[in-house]
Amino acid sequence: MKEHSDNQVVPDVEQQEEQLNLLVYQALEQDGSLIPTTPEAVARAEAELDNEDLELPATLANFDAALRHASQNHLMNCMPLQIPTGTEENLARAAREGGDVPPEVEAQMRADRAASEDDANAKGQH
């Protein structure tokens, strides 16, 4: 604090900046631009939401719906995945490493898979 010649106490520049920051922070918090981070701010935000009687859109009604909506609409702000090169060729080469599957074994595999899928369907796993 500094004292003027007429003895009036005024805040110094640092304190003024601090007060300004606090006011800006509170304004942004009340505006919804900042997520409340203190118990008081959360309580205040919840009280305000109660008064506003907001209704969420169906796509945000629950987490599953929100996730489904996001995946259907391909979030535009996702980072593109770095896909390693050569995986397909390597998988194909590795597939050739094994011996050939004889036709009778292939038929057995088809039958086993169908039975396994039928079983899973019956149990409601799909």
Binding site: I83, A115, E117
Partner: protein, 283 residues
Amino acid sequence: MPRDSTERMAPARAADIAELAEEVSVTRYPTGCVDPGAIAVSLGITLSFNDYADSFDGMLEHRAGRFHIFVNLRRVGTKDSPRSRFTLGHELGHYYIDDHRRALASGRAPAHKSICEYRSKSVVEAEADHFASNLLLPKPRFLDQARKYAVGLPGIIKIAGHFGASITSTAIRYASLDVSPCAVIKWDDLAFGWKWLSRGTFEARLFRTIESTAQLPQDCPTARALRGEAAPKGYFEAGTTATAWYKAVAAEGYRNVLLMEQAMQLGQYGVLTFLYPLEGKYG
């Protein structure tokens, strides 16, 4: 340090795969044995276990929008055998590793006939093996177990039993986590298969081991196991020297320390040799 194709797996890629597998393992099975079959079922992947001749250990197939795993009992033994569990873990690796799954699901890669447990030279197979190892033998829990036992095959056998893993994959994990300086050598069909060296062995510049059965001393544990002699404790063991096993070690050199050589028959899967310095270090 592996000798084969896993050398081509970039360290960052290996670390990512290990982290992914460990996350799955710890999240789903914080204690006890990991059940890779149950994980597959929870992901909507159907399973078949049967005798599919001799062309693969396991296969992850994508058809009509669904994944399916075939496990070849002729190659892995029973449905619940350690080798079967490793094969399931391996196929889950092809599913969990994004670019493998995407390539299979898109049809750009053919249905995958896997040769598991570090026998394939393919890098994608090494990646799936790496996933299976980290899934079934997660590092923190593995180290907890490993610290309970003295170095050597008896401890590795106990650790393998604890995790329901094969002796081979447990010994490799033991070496790759550098629990103690050691070397793991696998012999298939009476010939050298592959070897894994722990970091400690690698840093001692002990790279070149005996890789021919003709060079083995007649009565050493490995030779006896390869001859199919009956092992009284389930494995053979005898003291040896570094110069007997490592070509670069001179008889009068400071690295020519005493080693313990242990060898175990793995039935149709060959013989495993485990070597470690008796004093816990090389010179």
